[in-house]
Symmetry: C2
Subunit: 313 residues, 2 copies
């Protein structure tokens, strides 16, 4: 049986910082990332792709706000907006991945799934929503929306206005894991858990419903990798290896580390929150739950044998 790998990368790999998000920019970025993923196909892996949606869902939220103001199109909630980005980003990745495969004369189906991820409504994250999403509003408008909907707002530390904040709960269950594993084991490339998945919860035993929240895409991809029994888990970022003493004179790149070492570095606060720390936690979770290894690296290094920082048991 071929080795099965889950590969996760950020929405920033597709819409780079400083770019507006035109279709040409996004297609070019996606094509480049897919060319690098081809390295794993050549190494005879079956692969499943998880991806972020930060910049894209930001744009969708602005579009919904503007659509309601200009054309009275009702704004739809965050879970629907995430579903929209799973469609658009998934389509872009699927198309460029197919084009790369064709060029390399490799016959493989590429399949995009819309993916709900169950969260626990008692997750403590819901007591303290901290993740800002959507437009910046003047204080008065934020107060008006809060009064009408109960949405919680926080002032932007850089003075750009008030933004809605939502919780970032832990992923509990990937809704379509059986389909993902079935298709991936048949040799299809499967794109899933876009934006960390659409967050849903059991509102009653027989009823699932979406919820205003965002799930960390690395944690969701890690959970997916565990639930489909993947052998390896790749987290792509913008540096070739994880570093300790980052940006200091004694900065050191890590090659192979154990889960115990990774936990020690985390406890020492070697990794920035909102950046490398959640990736290392996602890696630890995968390896602790039976994964063989997790690799944190940049897409452009995938052609190098033993690339990146490897976290092993």
């Amino acid at each position: 049986m071929k080795k099965l790998a889950v590969v996760a990368f950020g929405g920033n790999a597709l819409l780079k910082s400083g770019q507006k998000g035109t279709i040409d920019e996004q297609e070019l970025n996606v094509h480049e990332t897919c060319s690098h993923l081809m390295e794993l196909i050549k190494q005879d892996y079956n692969i499943v792709i998880g991806h972020g949606n930060g910049p894209q869902v930001g744009n969708v939220l602005l579009q919904h706000d503007a659509g309601e103001k200009m054309y009275s199109v009702p704004k739809l909630p965050l879970d629907i907006c995430v579903a929209e980005t799973q469609g658009s980003i998934g389509y872009m990745i699927e198309q460029q991945m197919k084009n790369v495969l064709r060029k390399e004369k490799v016959e493989k189906d590429v399949i995009t799934l819309i993916t709900q991820v169950l969260v626990d409504k008692d997750d403590p994250a819901f007591q303290n929503p901290t993740k800002p999403v959507g437009p910046y509003y003047p204080k008065e408008e934020a107060e008006k929306i809060h009064a009408a909907t109960g949405d919680i707002f926080a002032e932007d530390p850089r003075g750009r206005g008030w933004r809605k904040v939502v919780a970032s709960p832990k992923p509990v269950h990937i809704s379509n894991k059986r389909a993902v594993e079935t298709l991936a084991r048949e040799g299809m490339i499967v794109i899933t858990v876009g934006g960390g998945g659409i967050p849903v919860f059991n509102v009653e035993p027989e009823k699932v419903q979406g919820i205003d929240a965002v799930i960390d895409k690395d944690l969701a991809s890690s959970m997916l990798a565990q639930q489909i029994n993947a052998d390896e888990f790749y987290i792509l970022t913008d540096i070739p290896k994880v570093c300790i003493n980052f940006n200091k004179p004694d900065q050191k790149e890590l090659d192979v580390i154990t889960v115990a070492e990774a936990e020690k570095y985390l406890a020492e606060k070697q990794f920035a929150e909102g950046s490398m720390a959640p990736k290392v936690r996602a890696a630890i979770q995968f390896v602790k739950n039976g994964g063989k290894k997790c690799v944190i690296t940049e897409a452009a290094s995938l052609h190098i044998a033993g690339c990146g920082t490897q976290i092993i048991a």
Copy 2:
């Protein structure tokens, strides 16, 4: 082996004429449609769901227009907008279908796929684009967009302004048919070809690209039903049976008709273009290519044995 059926319904089943499209309206409509589909599950079919997206993609196009004007978020092309609606509508159907299944204590996965549909760039439809999409513009703005992008505009016959028109080419190939059939034969309910599919064409032998066009959802679902070797094809609409002499004193509901009879009625122009005629054509195409029968009916009639108008060889 269980019988495999493809069921197609319109975006209007989800966002009804006169409704604005709030999340509550759409969820209620979707839930009702899914309750009716449960009848086919009880009759032990494996089912694949195809759906339209007319009102929804209309809203997305307005949101993109408004987002660019208010927040400088670049408008994305029609193929991306269709992909967004496949995500949002697919998610809504998947969630409500799961809730209906749970209530009925039936264990089944429900899976939503993003679906590209290949069209032929030499399809004569591209010579004469007639399908209006997106916002109504004043003449001057339409002319400006035409000059910048080459988009073609036509004046609205009811005087509401100028609207972009795109071609409605024939579907040629459903990109993910193998995955659809694999999952459906395993007993999963598969949601696919949303909005008739994302139209793509071979820009060169090794490169597929999206194209500004819309594909008729009944024709796309018919093509899908053929390509996955479905036994039966259900086209859901808002009347229980197809009629001849519709709205005349001698109006007659059709029970069972052959392909030859259906073709005769079509030649007599018994069915309205843009309404029943394309459904009957989709039905004929399915049965002529090996399908056992096509049923045209309303969702609420699915519990009746031998419901609707049946088109057979």
